[in-house]
């Protein structure tokens, strides 16, 4: 079967798979960003207990594999009475994994803000929370956006692993079609192209736009 005929016949399934992939991507991104902020700030905390918790989280999630984390959350947590539905387990695992990497970016971004900014914020008598929220984080955000762009691509690629716990994403649909038709080159080729298009023409341009937008807000454009 030619590639064109293949697409005519199977595009609806590839499309629903892509939809699930995008949903997983967005939900995992929300979780990942929230965890990054939390853990990044905690790792900078004065409190040794908070720091310890953040370091433990980051090292565990960066030191093991996303596949292992995914299986653990989906197969092992139910044994502790915490059963998570596969769709949720999927984006949760991917988001928690990315959060550990993002935490380091948040920490680095905050540390890259010049000391004078902290001092000036203190000199107008801002509270520590105000300093962080109004002065430091907006500037940290600008400096950490470029590496976040790469991390978002890693996140998109990471969502392909949710197929391993049978979430019907693009990867899963591709495997199903392959199993029933053996049109491997067509189906995996099409899936590769779809992931590439999502990364190159959706995620990357959006992150670039965000970078430019934030730079403009800083008056640096």
């Amino acid at each position: 079967m030619g590639f064109y005929d293949f697409l005519i016949q199977y595009w609806p399934r590839l499309l629903t798979g892509t939809g699930v992939t995008l949903a997983q991507f967005l939900l995992a991104a929300v979780i990942g960003i929230a965890i990054s902020l939390c853990m990044g700030l905690m790792k900078l905390s004065q409190n040794a207990l908070m720091r310890g918790a953040a370091v433990t989280y980051i090292e565990i999630f960066r030191g093991t594999s996303l596949v292992v984390q995914l299986y653990w959350i989906f197969f092992v947590l139910p044994l502790f009475g915490l059963t998570i539905e596969k769709f949720t387990a999927g984006y949760l695992a991917v988001g928690m994994n990315i959060g550990a990497y993002g935490a380091e970016l948040v920490r680095g971004g905050i540390l890259s803000v010049p000391k004078g900014q902290w001092e000036a914020a203190l000199a107008i008598n801002m509270s520590p929370a105000q300093r962080m929220r109004r002065i430091i984080l907006p500037q940290a955000l600008v400096s950490m956006l470029p590496p976040w762009g790469n991390l978002m691509i890693e996140l998109l690629k990471g969502t392909a692993l949710v197929s391993l716990i049978s979430v019907a994403d693009l990867m899963f649909e591709a495997r199903q079609i392959n199993a029933s038709t053996f049109l491997s080159a067509q189906v995996f080729g099409a899936a590769l192209v779809i992931y590439y298009v999502l990364a190159r023409f959706l995620v990357t341009p959006f992150m670039r736009w965000l970078e430019r937008h934030m730079a403009r807000k800083l008056g640096r454009a």
Partner: protein
């Protein structure tokens, strides 16, 4: 609450340890392929031919933007469609080696670009051939700044080996899956796999940092 069975843990440990051997071999072999192929991809982007540079650049972008697990499937299943049979190990090494070669080519590229212009000019002034220039002057200076990235990807490739389980490479996760479904117990195998990953990747990351420092000192940087 913890339904942890120590006798079962001890029983499965030998199998997991031998699977760890496979995981390490896969990571090691994949990394060797990536290190060599990555350098070729980096150098190919420095040829005078615009077409070659462009093609290689786009290829690297494509591989980096698409999921490794999909690439593994692609290599494993597409060959037979055209009469080429590759063993799971073979396809796995090709896919993971190629994937990381693209990452490493970016690391090399950064290293090569960090060599000051004066070094190129000095090499020309000594009337060196292109091969001599790279081999004697540029690459030795490009490696130290690239070491951190190279080390990170060594740990990265190790953490990505569980993806090889999907085509039947008997590495850690594959073995844990098998143990789990034979005994209907997932807690111990998956948890042990996580611990084994941590026990290897954390010291490895530390060793790599030490090695980096050692090389820097040795080169007087």
């Amino acid at each position: 609450m913890f339904d942890w069975k120590w006798d079962f843990t001890w029983e499965i440990l030998p199998r997991l340890i031998s699977a760890t051997g496979n995981t390490l071999i896969a990571a090691g072999a994949g990394y060797v392929i990536a290190v060599v192929l990555g350098l070729m991809l980096a150098l190919a982007q420095r040829t005078p031919s615009r077409a070659v540079t462009f093609t290689v650049r786009e290829f690297v972008e494509f591989i980096r933007s698409t999921p490794l697990i999909l690439q593994i499937f692609f290599v494993f299943y597409v060959g037979p469609q055209f009469g080429i049979r590759l063993s799971p190990w073979m396809s796995g090494m090709i896919a993971i080696g190629l994937h990381y070669a693209c990452y490493l080519s970016e690391v090399y590229r950064g290293g090569i670009e960090s060599v000051p212009k004066g070094q190129w000019e000095a090499a020309i002034a000594l009337n060196m051939t292109t091969v001599q220039k790279y081999r004697r002057v540029i690459i030795p200076q490009a490696i130290p700044p690239a070491l951190a990235g190279m080390g990170n990807y060594l740990v990265g490739i190790f953490k990505d080996t569980p993806m090889l389980s999907v085509i039947g490479v008997a590495e850690l996760i594959h073995t844990a899956n098998a143990i789990g479904s034979e005994n209907y117990r997932f807690l111990e195998p998956y948890t042990m796999v996580g611990i084994i990953f941590l026990a290897i990747s954390l010291p490895a990351a530390g060793l790599i940092r030490l090695f980096e420092g050692y090389v820097r000192r040795k080169l007087g940087l």
